[in-house]
């Protein structure tokens, strides 16, 4: 079956602009996660959704970052007033349920470059 998909695969924007990154999880997966991966680092947790609600947003770096999942499926990560330091690969993952024992399945990522 289809895996996690993310669009766009690449996004180049200018400092100060607004961007939206989209994630389409595996069908039927109730938990959805966003991570950010900088060069030479492992993924860093940003936020996770259980259904439509954000169950844990403790990883969001500041209030310029926001994410939604209005119908419990597709999610959008929104970044306002982008800064050069936001440049990274943004990864989305989903799992069948939110429990700690469930492995997460990752999408290919969106490479964001802020000029």
């Amino acid at each position: 079956g289809a895996g996690v998909s993310q669009t766009p695969s690449n996004k180049v924007t200018e400092k100060g602009k607004y961007v939206e990154l989209r994630c389409d999880p595996i069908s039927g997966h109730t938990a959805l996660y966003w991570y950010r991966q900088s060069l030479g680092q492992g993924p860093e947790f940003l936020i996770y959704f259980q259904g439509t609600g954000a169950a844990d947003d403790s990883g969001l770096p500041n209030d310029r970052f926001f994410a939604v999942r209005p119908e419990g499926s597709v999610s959008t990560l929104k970044i306002q007033r982008t800064e050069r330091g936001d440049s990274a690969v943004y990864l989305c993952a989903s799992s069948a349920q939110a429990g700690a024992y469930n492995e997460q399945f990752f999408g290919p990522g969106t490479r964001l470059t802020v000029l």
């Binding site: 030479g40 996770y48 403790s58 700690a100 024992y101 399945f105 990752f106």
Partner: protein
């Protein structure tokens, strides 16, 4: 705070030889441990996990990992390496109600 250490940035091994990629962790309570592999221009792929039970867990592509509670380690192993195993490997840990935390990754290079 929970954390993962992968002490080796790079591991080189000859094809056909056994390989080990090291991981140690710190977490409150019972650990839930995972290994992922990342190939160039592809997403992270799940390899295996330890939840409870047998300390030796088997996963995809012939990989296995050994959980050692006293040493807080979860090393990834394979008896005979293949050139196609060359990739970036990530160890990750979470507690029952905490986010998944990843190590920095170890680049495995299998030489023919």
């Amino acid at each position: 705070a929970q954390s993962v250490a992968q002490p080796e940035d790079q591991v080189n091994v000859a094809e056909g030889n056994p390989l080990t990629v090291k991981c140690t962790y710190s977490v409150s309570g019972n650990p839930y441990l995972f290994w992922y592999v990342q190939y160039p221009n592809r997403g992270l792929q799940f390899l295996l996990k330890y939840i409870t039970g047998d300390n030796l867990v088997k996963g995809s592509y012939g990989f296995e990992a050994e959980f050692n509670k006293s040493q807080t380690s979860f090393h990834l192993k394979k008896p005979s390496a293949l050139v196609s195993d060359s990739a970036l490997y990530f160890c990750a840990v979470r507690g029952w109600d905490t986010p998944l935390v990843f190590g920095k990754g170890t680049r495995l290079s299998v030489i023919a």
